[in-house]
């Protein structure tokens, strides 16, 4: 034999020591500590979730917009199922025997011991139909759920809807379990945490086969569900309904805002859809068909469709031009059609008249003065400086910003700066002549109806605003702080009156561009615009506020493929203003004209983007 090697004993000792460590650890874990036995007890409890009612949504006059109705999921625990007569239950549910077997197989595949949904969202009537026979089917039970109910067929876009949470939502928020519902759009999504309330739980003990034995400690640890908070929306549902009616057979959107509070009164996107379609177990089917429908009814044009704002943007140029003393109230600029095309109109001898007549060369020159400041000799070096100074002012009005209005995914539109053109053409390779169409709101500027309405509200207020919002109050807490904060723009207060005067004249004076927006006994101030559309007829745009002295409503209207802004968008705005201010329509002829108009181009469904 070999002579004894000391390292043998080292190795053997290490093995013995490690074994002793494992034994000691096991002894602590299994014999000394009872912490893990308690945990195991928790593992063998069954927690039955109690779903709270979801918060109600009201309109600004406390009319219920969204409420709840009962829905029931038929659950199954495959391991406990002893089928006596599957045909009877299948018939009661209105499915065939094959489908019944498939559903059961799918549930077994998920887990034999854990409950899974066998049949989704039975209505109260359907539930009553199977309640009687359900006692004969061991392993099946009913889990109450919350379903939404919409009072009317309007407002789908801002209210949004709820749907089953997907894996991403569950991963992001531990509150949710498979099969739970959460807001997927609109107010429902943005205010999900307020609306959902808090789930309660009833704890039961289960045996080794996961069958319920008894309530755990007589319900001592059960928690009651907390109802979701109710919301009062700022929307005036009558005005909303009227807006949607005016937009029948038209594509586009409108947003109306109460200037002195920032509350959004109406938010119309057309085509719309009946929100009740997206409730219950047919949600998936209707959702898909809406997704593929022509003109994209699910797309919220009011906050997401961004177009060049056209001539409405001249008002922005006027404010900045006056504020920077690039023009005075009495600056006269000839209508030089060599610079940029224009229509025939009396001479624009002041900024007021330039707004009234919407003179293109006038604002071409104003914008040139802004861009070419003369800080650099080369216009290629000078223009980027001027453009960025200009952009800095423009974004103050909410352009190029995603406004936090209480709805998810609000588009920001676009205001190009020097970085934009540098990327497009290269640094110092563009100048005013490249970008002059920005002067009249064409080219690379993009704004949504929401942004234009917000801008109209700022002009109506002579320079202050509250962030626009769709929810006036949350539960008992009232209005959120972020919507109570007043913002004042850093422009001189003298700049607004001459511009407002021009907007008044655009609607009310003989040579104005927006006569169709006139309202009896109300001074409407407005500005037309036309968004050039390379795919077809131009988009008709109008923004306005009224009454002039004490504005109660500011509005922006986009009608796609409807041509010149004064023709269609302006009269729709006029009708909305009259409806909101007086609750009556005196201009019956104008109303008929709009209601009967069909402005959907035949090929629009293939042109959208």
């Amino acid at each position: 034999m070999n002579k004894p090697e000391p390292r043998t004993y080292v190795i053997a000792a290490v093995i013995v020591i490690v074994s002793v460590i494992l034994l000691v650890r096991l002894f602590f874990l299994q014999v000394l500590s009872d912490e893990y036995e308690v945990s195991a007890l928790n593992n063998s409890q069954r927690h039955i979730i109690q779903y709270p009612p979801r918060g109600i949504i009201y309109d600004r006059d406390s009319i219920i917009l969204v409420s709840n109705k009962a829905g029931y999921d038929l659950m199954v625990i495959p391991q406990q199922v002893k089928i006596i007569d599957s045909l009877r239950l299948a018939n009661a549910l209105g499915i065939d025997k094959e489908s019944f077997r498939e559903r059961l197989a799918e549930a077994s595949f998920y887990s034999r011991f854990q409950p899974s949904i066998f049949y989704k969202m039975l209505s109260a009537e359907e539930y009553a139909g199977i309640q009687e026979i359900l006692y004969d089917y061991e392993g099946f039970y009913v889990q109450p759920r919350v379903m939404r109910q919409y009072a009317d067929e309007v407002g789908a876009h801002f209210m949004g809807d709820i749907g089953e949470v997907n894996d991403n939502v569950i991963a992001a928020d531990a509150y949710y379990r498979m099969g739970d519902y959460a807001g997927v759009n609109g107010i429902e999504k943005y205010y999900e945490k307020s609306l959902r309330g808090k789930k309660g739980v009833k704890i039961f003990l289960v045996d080794a086969h996961n069958r319920i034995k008894e309530s755990y400690k007589d319900g001592k640890f059960d928690t009651l569900p907390e109802a979701g908070k109710s919301l009062v929306s700022s929307i005036d549902i009558d005005l909303q309904e009227y807006g949607e009616r005016l937009f029948v057979n038209k594509i586009g959107g409108l947003v109306a805002i109460e200037p002195e509070t920032g509350e959004i009164l109406a938010l119309v996107s057309s085509p719309g859809y009946d929100p009740n379609l997206l409730v219950g177990r047919n949600r998936g089917y209707f959702y898909d068909s809406l997704l593929n429908a022509p003109n994209k009814p699910l797309f919220n044009r009011a906050i997401n469709s961004a177009y060049p704002p056209g001539s409405t943007f001249k008002v922005v140029q006027a404010v900045i031009g006056l504020d920077e003393n690039l023009i005075s109230t009495s600056t006269s600029i000839p209508c030089n059609k060599y610079w940029v095309n224009c229509h025939n109109h009396p001479p624009a001898t002041s900024v007021t008249k330039a707004v009234q007549f919407s003179c293109n060369p006038y604002f071409y020159e104003v914008f040139r003065r802004m861009v070419q400041r003369g800080y650099e000799k080369s216009i290629f070096r000078d223009s980027p400086i001027g453009l960025d100074m200009w952009k800095e002012k423009v974004v103050l009005f909410g352009f190029d910003q995603s406004l936090d209005i209480g709805l998810p995914s609000v588009s920001s539109g676009q205001i190009p700066g020097s970085d934009y053109y540098d990327a497009l053409y290269g640094q110092y390779r563009w100048a005013f002549s490249t970008i002059y169409s920005l002067s009249i709101g064409q080219g690379e500027i993009l704004a949504t109806p929401l942004q234009l309405a917000h801008f109209a509200a700022i002009i109506a207020n002579h320079g202050y605003y509250y962030t626009p919002h769709v929810v006036k109050s949350v539960g008992e807490e009232g209005k959120e702080a972020k919507y109570r904060k007043k913002y004042i723009l850093p422009f001189k207060s003298e700049v607004y009156p001459p511009i407002v005067e021009g907007m008044k004249n655009a609607v009310n004076a003989p040579h104005g561009t927006a006569g169709l927006a006139r309202v009896k006994d109300v001074t409407v101030c407005g500005k037309t615009g036309t968004a050039q559309n390379p795919h077809g007829e131009d988009h008709s745009i109008f923004m306005a506020f009224a009454p002039m002295e004490n504005p109660k409503i500011a509005i922006a209207v986009y009608v796609e493929n409807a041509g010149y802004g004064g023709t269609w968008a302006a009269p729709i705005a006029g009708l909305m203003i009259e409806k909101y201010l007086t609750d009556t329509i005196t201009n019956k002829w104008g109303e008929e004209r709009i209601l009967n108009a069909n402005l959907i181009p035949e090929t629009a469904d293939e042109k959208e983007d």
Partner: protein, 474 residues
């Protein structure tokens, strides 16, 4: 004929007895962990326990085969077999099937087969063959490097398969090298490296560096009994620390705490150098070199830890070291596993009566977490018995290895001991939260054919060599 009878007498039946006990308990655990309720038969065709039974049967056939082969075969063909298994590791990278993110399986009809499991056996044989070569001496760096080449080739292939756990197993063979005479300094360096790593994750690289620096300074004092020199050094070091701190506060020089102390101690040690050289002593030089080495090591480690390791790997390490408490995330498996084992109590809930290992509370309950089933259903008595059986097996195998006349057999025996030891410690340690979650099976227990078969073959080749111990005089 005479020879066969002799062999049967020479076989170590004690080891076979322990092996059989482990195999039976293992199989029952697999049955229990895949049992779903009354009505499930123990011999249900197609069930996990029956699939495993087929593998156990095949393994027994292989045992007979091993005893029919001449024992010289294993040393004569050691390198050939090693080469073949390396080829199969390459092949699996190309033709293999990916399971749980690791491309380490061949698929033949219903059966899956993992060559990495067998690589352990043939690497051990090759290592035994290498260490037995003429004038081979592990004290020579060159020879030691050859040994590591043998070990590291399969490691590299298995890491490429994305199966880090199985690759780590091969490092257990260092125990063999230690037994066969590798300088223990290397082992100390390796242990110190692990300790420094754990400490720098637990505390912070800076503090660990600072601590090492002062330990080295203290070593200087202990070694040199140079009180005066030491106190001068201490004052100089403190002075440098203060100056660097002030610079840091003025934001002139932004150095971490560890850097400051290291630089201070380094400068101090080097300042003692002239005096030391005059006295023909090199303690300061050696300590400075160690300190520099530690410094480079910790900073490299810090970089690797945050820039090379993936976040889930960091999470596992930090969770094991108790830095993260996240029972629903990375710690879910371990927490559920601890609950299952802990709820077994002293004597367990009884066979098939476990609630935690049913209902999917514990994931991978029949493979990597099979020990939970034993812990829950048989309690401390059962789990302790399994640990004791494994310890007995290992100690017995050491005794067998030491009684070999052939160095080849001894080295191979120690390889069996090392690799089994590693698997057992990591796997059981993992289920009770002492080790990070490294997905390697528990020998003879975990569900999986190649695993069971490979461990059986691994063990019985050694028993075959042992049975022939008297005939070999090499």
């Amino acid at each position: 004929m005479r020879k066969r009878i002799n062999i049967l007498k020479q076989i170590d039946w004690f080891t076979i007895g322990v092996f059989l006990m482990l195999a039976v308990i293992g199989w029952l655990s697999i049955f229990s962990s895949s049992w779903e309720g009354i009505g499930d038969s123990m011999f249900e065709p197609g069930s996990r326990q029956m699939k495993q039974a087929v593998w156990v049967g095949l393994s027994f056939l292989m045992i007979i085969l091993v005893f029919l082969i001449d024992s010289k075969f294993f040393s004569a063909f050691a390198y050939v077999l090693y080469g073949l298994v390396i080829l199969s590791l390459v092949a699996v990278l190309v033709f293999g099937k990916e399971v749980n993110g690791a491309r380490s399986w061949f698929e033949l009809g219903n059966f899956r087969f993992q060559p990495a499991e067998f690589a352990k056996i043939f690497t051990s044989l090759a290592l035994a063959q290498l260490l037995t070569s003429f004038q081979f001496d592990l004290k020579k760096i060159k020879h030691l490097l050859w040994a590591f080449v043998i070990i590291l080739i399969p490691v590299a292939m298995i890491i490429l398969q994305n199966d880090t756990g199985s690759a780590l197993v091969f490092f257990a063979l260092v125990i063999v090298l230690y037994r066969e005479g590798m300088k223990s300094t290397y082992l100390f360096i390796a242990l110190a490296a692990v300790l420094l790593f754990v400490l720098s994750v637990l505390i912070s690289p800076g503090w660990v560096l600072a601590g090492s620096a002062f330990v080295l300074l203290a070593l200087y004092w202990l070694n040199e009994h140079d009180n005066k020199g030491f106190f001068v050094a201490l004052i100089v070091a403190t002075g440098i620390v203060v100056v660097l701190f002030l610079l840091k506060q003025r934001e002139i020089l932004n150095l971490g705490f560890g850097w400051i102390v290291t630089i201070a101690v380094l400068v101090t040690l080097l300042s003692l150098l002239p005096g030391m050289l005059r006295a023909r002593r090199n303690t300061a030089l050696v300590l400075s070199a160690i300190l520099l080495g530690t410094f480079v090591y910790i900073n490299t480690l810090d970089y690797v830890y945050y820039n090379v390791l993936q976040s889930h790997q960091r999470d596992r390490i930090e969770h094991t070291l108790g830095l993260k408490d996240d029972p629903l995330g990375i710690g879910y498996n371990v927490n559920q596993s601890k609950i299952a084992i802990g709820s077994g109590g002293f004597s367990g809930k009884g066979f098939l009566q476990g609630t935690q290992t049913k209902f999917d509370f514990v994931p991978e309950q029949s493979t990597d977490f099979i020990f939970c089933t034993i812990g829950e259903e048989f309690g401390f008595l059962g789990a302790g018995l399994v640990v004791l059986l494994f310890a007995t097996l290992l100690v017995r195998l050491i005794m067998l290895a030491e009684r070999q006349r052939s160095k080849f057999s001894r080295v191979y025996g120690y390889a069996v001991v090392s690799i089994l030891f590693f698997h057992i410690t990591i796997n059981i340690g993992m289920t009770i939260g002492l080790m990070p979650v490294i997905g390697i099976p528990l020998p003879f227990f975990s569900y999986g054919g190649s695993s069971f078969m490979a461990f059986t073959l691994f063990l019985f080749i050694f028993l075959r060599l042992d049975a022939n111990r008297l005939e070999i005089f090499r």
